[in-house]
């Protein structure tokens, strides 16, 4: 007898339920229809998904944000319930990239254990209807009930587009509703239309009919879409010239690139200058907490655990929250403005020269937050070698988990002074570290594509989104999401790791008559000393070695581990900022070597796990770990010895 574990099956389709309901004396399941949101990239599917379900999935003003199927629940005013699927954007069901395959398979009911959706909700950007009509015509061939949601209708009206909604509905033979997903407008009308379709006769069948169209059929569909667009859509009398004028400057090869560099420079200056007061406040809070614990608990193991393990460890990481939030505030605002897609355009020449596909820009941009969404975002690339190259270099982009490490070492060793009369030196070094991450990603991409996987460059086509004013709610939500992720990590993996590090640093206690700090005799001390010969050539002390091991769980744990190790080592006398402690114990050359190590640092178990999932093989995570470790070691070695030669 064999037993196989399977996930809970998805809710049955309406057709299956009706069949069930027809059978007497059976427990009837609650009626739940399944709606699938489909549309071209950047037409607002996820914004509509969030509006329908109350979810908070990431939305941004560029294509390729959603790369996997997401599901949520919605209840209409009259109690009608539905499951809503948010699918990656696609221009056609002729899927080429892995994210488009997910959409095609979900629409056709080919995903394991799933039936086709009861209702297709096709979403169109109302300011760019002609392209969407081709998809509508293709989706109609699938044979499922469908409603067309004309999203961003407020912008279309403001720009002067005149759309004959009744005529469009007549031509397409489907209901048409207008929506403004970011303001939740039109959502009830959309739900009502979907509800009527789900209860209609067409929903009873779960049949789908679709085959890949040939060139003749494609041309016919294109002509039909053009005919319908001419009949029902009138463009604005005064075309939008602002976008053209802005793009003339922002996409200019010289001015555009200078503006991009200037924006990045400003961003890192702000990270250092704006964050300081808030960081001081958090630091003062933790200091007070330490004093309170000292007054409340008598000396003993528990007091040591709380003050040296939890407060010194977790506190040393939490201090960096303001910097992370300021950085993401800038990134989210630029995304919402529609600038990031322009940045992708500007970077395409550089990335193409390095052998990276133009569509790699968005995954690499996502990697600034964390390599995990970056690795997953590579699904938008259809060529397997291009995708693997992007996956392999994504962790080289500076993720937010490196910020605490960089900031700690910079504030300990780089003087806080102004250079060139206006720029903070610390901000400049941070900018340089981010630039080093980008350059190393491009260089590794170049080596992979030009030396190992030679091949012709794939063309890069990307629709530039319209400029929009950032939605304050979306910006705040994005910043809050980052804060929540950071705090959750601090309260879970970092906290648990710090408790363990404290235990390893304080057990066993020093033998009678021991000279030197007790931590030298602990498990952590033994581990650090065992690793020291391997790391001494790159200038790392045994305390640094101890910090590198738990950083496998999350990179910022290195900072917390250093906080705990030095707190345990110094005991009650170790009070003071961690940056001061490092300054006293490390040489400048060792500190620079540590920074170089973390540019390439391969320690992130979660990223390696996701790479395994995305490539379906342990081979690629193993290659990634090996090449990044080798690069980190070589970079740290070179940095340490060059710095020593320079007298640092």
């Amino acid at each position: 007898m064999s037993a196989e574990a399977v996930l809970e099956p998805p809710p049955p389709s309406l057709a299956d339920r009706l069949n069930t309901e027809a059978a007497p004396a059976q427990a009837l399941p609650v009626a739940v229809a399944r709606l699938a949101l489909i549309g071209a990239p950047n037409c607002g599917k996820t914004a509509l998904f969030n509006a329908l379900t109350g979810s908070r999935q990431k939305v941004a003003n560029y294509a390729g944000v959603t790369v996997e199927r997401k599901e949520g629940a919605v209840t209409a005013v009259d109690g009608w319930r539905a499951r809503v699927l948010d699918l990656p954007g696609t221009y056609s069901l002729r899927a080429r990239s892995p994210d488009e395959v997910v959409t095609r398979d979900a629409v056709l009911g080919r995903l394991a254990g799933e039936t086709p959706p009861d209702v297709l909700v096709c979403i169109a950007d109302a300011t760019n209807l002609k392209g969407a009509l081709r998809l509508v015509l293709e989706l109609k061939q699938v044979g499922r009930p469908m409603v067309l949601a004309m999203n961003m209708f407020d912008i279309a009206e403001r720009q002067g587009w005149r759309i004959d909604l009744e005529g469009l509905s007549r031509e397409l033979d489907i209901p048409v509703v207008t929506t403004v997903a970011t303001r939740r407008r039109g959502v009830d009308a959309l739900l009502a239309a979907a509800q009527r379709l789900a209860r209609g006769p067409a929903a009873l069948s779960s049949e789908v009919a679709w085959r890949e169209p040939g060139p003749v059929e494609l041309r016919t569909a294109h002509r039909e879409a053009e005919r319908i667009a001419r009949a029902c859509v009138a463009p604005p009398a005064r075309p939008d010239t602002l976008t053209g004028k802005l793009d003339g400057v922002l996409l200019h090869p010289v001015f555009g690139s200078a503006i991009l560099l200037g924006l990045l420079f400003l961003m890192f200056q702000a990270v250092f200058t704006w964050a300081q007061p808030l960081m001081d406040l958090i630091k003062a809070g933790f200091d007070q907490l330490g004093v309170l614990v000292g007054q409340t608990f008598p000396p003993g193991l528990l007091r040591s655990l709380i003050s040296e393990g939890v407060i010194s460890g977790v506190g040393s990481v939490l201090v960096f929250l303001p910097q992370i939030l300021i950085l993401f505030f800038f990134i989210i605002v630029l995304e919402d403005l529609g600038y990031m897609a322009r940045a992708a355009f500007l970077m395409d020449r550089v990335m193409g020269g390095a052998g990276l596909h133009g569509r790699a820009f968005i995954p690499l941009l996502s990697s600034f937050a964390c390599a995990i969404p970056g690795v997953m975002g590579a699904r938008v690339i259809d060529n397997r070698r291009d995708r693997l190259t992007t996956i392999l270099v994504a962790p080289l982009m500076t993720c937010s988990a490196r910020i605490p490490v960089y900031t700690l070492i910079i504030s300990a060793f780089i003087p806080n002074r102004t250079v060139w009369g206006f720029a903070s030196l610390q901000g400049l070094v941070m900018f340089g570290l981010y630039a080093a991450g980008i350059v190393s990603a491009l260089s590794v991409g170049f080596v992979i594509r030009k030396l190992f996987w030679r091949g012709a460059a794939e063309p890069f086509l990307m629709e530039l989104p319209a400029y929009k004013l950032p939605d304050p709610k979306n910006v705040l939500m994005g910043v809050w999401t980052r804060a929540k992720i950071f705090l959750t990590r601090a309260g879970t993996v970092i906290l648990a790791m710090m408790v363990l590090i404290w235990f390893l640093s304080s057990t066993p206690s020093a033998p009678p008559g021991a000279v030197g700090p007790a931590i030298n005799y602990s498990f952590a001390g033994m581990l650090g000393h065992a690793m020291e010969p391997l790391l001494a050539p790159i200038g790392f002390t045994w305390q640094m070695a101890v910090a590198l091991v738990p950083a496998m769980a999350a990179r910022e744990v290195a900072v917390a581990a250093l906080g705990t190790v030095y707190a345990v080592q110094g005991g009650e006398n170790a009070l003071g900022p961690l940056s001061g402690v490092l300054h006293a114990h490390w040489s400048m050359a060792s500190a620079l070597a540590m920074l170089a190590w973390f540019i390439f640092a391969p320690q992130c178990a979660s990223t390696l796990g996701v790479v395994k999932r995305e490539t379906n093989s342990w081979k690629w995570p193993a290659i990634m770990f090996a090449y990044m470790t080798a690069l980190a070691y070589v970079a740290a070695f070179a940095t340490y010895h060059i710095a020593r030669l320079a007298g640092a």
């Binding site: 007898m1 064999s2 037993a3 196989e4 574990a5 399977v6 996930l7 809970e8 608990f297 008598p298 000396p299 003993g300 193991l301 528990l302 007091r303 040591s304 655990l305 879970t492 993996v493 906290l495 648990a496 790791m497 408790v499 363990l500 404290w502 235990f503 769980a553 178990a605």
Partner: protein, 42 residues
């Protein structure tokens, strides 16, 4: 008093270690099964 502190401190260490093993080393499928979210198909 120091004995009580030691017991609490080591209990916290044991919980942290158990949580790390659970969250980082137990496969997702096994976790789902242990939580009762997955049923067996025979």
């Amino acid at each position: 008093m120091s004995g009580v502190q030691a017991v609490i401190a080591y209990a916290v260490v044991a919980m942290a270690a158990a949580w790390i093993v659970w969250s980082m080393f137990v496969p997702g499928k096994l976790k789902a099964r242990l939580r009762g979210r997955v049923r067996l198909k025979r």
